[in-house]
Amino acid sequence: MNAMEGISIKNVTKTYSQRILFSKKTFNAVENVSLDITTDPPEIFSLVGESGSGKSTLANMILQLIKPDIGEILLNGKKINDFEMLEFMKKIQPIFQDPFDSFDPMKKTDLFIYETVKNFNIARNKDSINYIIDQCLQKVGLNYQMIKGRYPHEFSGGQLQRIAIARALVVKPLFLVADEPVSMLDASLRISIVNLFKQLKEKENLSVLYITHDLSTAYYISDRIGVMLRGNLVEIGNAKEILGEPLHPYTQFLMKALLEPDPDKTKISLFDNEKNEEKMTEVSEYQLKGCKYANRCPNVKKICREKNPEYYYIKNRKIKCFLYEEFK
């Protein structure tokens, strides 16, 4: 086994069960996913897909918040549950969706960073702690004076998200797991946070796993992208290539449904006769035996309903779809 620098996810499966009265349904929220994200050189990897496609479950497994049922996750060649928790958290840090939820509303904001410094034993005396806090805040475009003694409600969502990122930087991590970090923010603030990730990658050598359903920001920042569909990674490869020319029918659907800020490319015409196809409930789609997209796919074949496809390689991307069988 080569000791790759970074995260390496090997055949990970997580099964959840849903009980309705006396019946029990089990489904794989993440199904046999393998993925490598390097930290040397750093990269930004985006995980995109509809809500309920298992993106956050995968992220939580990387953060050790939940345990995979099958498979393992390695960090720099070592299993993540073999790490000491503190040591592990020094390497991987999370950023969550709602910045207002990640802060205690009753506590001053600077205390939040202060406690992180203390908990990780990074510095002991007050001056050096303050210096570290100021350093981290400057990396995200703020400074200590701006946040000192203020409570979370005094900041805007964008500022708070920056402070949350500054907190994550305190321990000098290798890797950030950002779960929908911009979906609560306004379009005009989104780009500033997204630019910040780009900057951190270039200046601090930080790899980012960027989880989002917003394809246009994913296109803008990521080096590679993975499209998730009901627990399966169906298309992985270079972001510009995949979103420029999507090959998997599901990626094509996502691109088709994407609204662009350009009135010339309008997708909602008045004479649109396209039928509103009723989506199956999430769980029943998870339980399909074959390809999870079989019921919605325009190019569905008989084999799609019987067998879950393997990966086929086209140039430097991996696709899980029987349409590309000849490229095996």
Partner: protein
């Protein structure tokens, strides 16, 4: 004659000692049979503006000044809709799809009950049977299965709940539908379907829709005219194409430039600074602290919304001659 004429309305929130000037001196008009979009950052007052239009003014919100004229079809001098009697015209002439409206359904009541309450409140002149048939044919017409009436809200997906609320809002064919962020919590594919449904309704019943969203791509795809709001003021009103091709206000320019697009690998810049606190907004033009082109006059005087061409109005000192 425009369907809706708004003259210099100011709507403020009162707190302990301060007032938040959420909508400040806003005038515009909405024509019949158009889709009018109101866009802006969160906290710029767009929701307050549509609440005022809908006549849903409850403390701490109050209308400081200004007036709104509704020119509905059958309104005359005796029978006109004013601020006082607007609540009796809700759902029939003007309906409102509130923000996060998929959460307005009562979780322990079937959808049927929701429609029944609607009947009790607004349509008692019809017998319940007739009304029920009306609901079913309306749902069918919008492409929704009639058996959703028997469901509880948790059995429906977010997009379905949103569609139920839209179906209810369009049930009595109101002339004006006000939708506040109807798609912001939905998935990409569902978002498109919901917008299509709204377009279909608009196309068939020829009613006017005012839509509020912060997502400029929804605006670009959906609206015929767009107003850009900043810190309680409307800074630019234009036809969609003109606004995206030729934005005139510095804020609109920065806003449109900061949108990532597929196939565009330019380095994008965020708008510098942050939106002002509306309890003590800056003097003059409220955008001047963030504007590259700010001059002395921008700090002193507040610009008025002026027409540059027939369909394009801007509030900026730079464009005044």
């Amino acid at each position: 004659m425009s369907l809706l004429e708004i003259y210099e309305i100011s709507a403020y929130y009162v707190h302990n000692n301060s007032t938040t000037k959420a909508v400040d001196n806003v005038s515009f008009s909405v024509e019949e049979n158009e889709i009018f979009g109101i866009a802006g950052e969160s906290g710029c007052g767009k929701s307050t503006l549509v609440k005022t239009i809908y006549g849903f003014i409850e403390p701490p919100l109050y209308l400081d000044k200004g007036k709104i004229i509704y020119n509905f079809k059958d309104s005359n001098e005796i029978n006109s809709v004013t601020k006082k009697n607007i609540s009796s015209n809700w759902w029939k002439k003007i309906s409102y799809i509130p923000q996060g409206s998929m959460n307005v359904l009562n979780p322990v009541r079937r959808i049927k009950k929701f429609f029944r309450n609607l009947w009790k409140a607004h349509s008692m002149n019809l017998s319940y049977e007739k009304y029920y048939n009306l609901v079913i044919s309306h749902l069918h017409h919008l492409g929704l299965p009639a058996d959703i009436l028997e469901y509880y809200p948790h059995q429906l997906s977010g997009g379905m709940k949103q569609r139920v609320v839209i179906a209810a809002a369009s049930l009595f064919h109101p002339e004006l539908i006000v939708a506040d962020e109807p798609t912001s919590a939905l998935d990409v594919g569902v978002q498109l379907d919901v917008l299509r449904l709204l377009i279909k309704i608009q196309n068939e019943y020829k009613n006017t829709i005012i839509i509020v969203a912060h997502d400029m791509s929804v605006m670009a795809n959906f609206c015929s005219r767009i107003a850009i709001m900043y810190a309680g003021n409307i800074v630019e009103v234009a036809e969609t194409k003109a606004l995206f091709k030729n934005p005139l206000h510095p804020y609109t320019k920065l806003l449109i430039d900061s949108l990532p697009k597929i196939g565009d690998i330019r380095e994008l810049k965020a708008i510098p600074g942050s939106p002002p606190d509306l309890t003590s907004p800056p003097s003059g033009c409220k955008f001047h602290p963030r504007c590259h082109f700010a001059k002395n006059i921008c700090i002193k005087e507040e610009p008025n919304l002026k027409k540059i061409t027939i369909d394009h109005a801007v509030a900026c000192h730079l464009l005044e001659r």
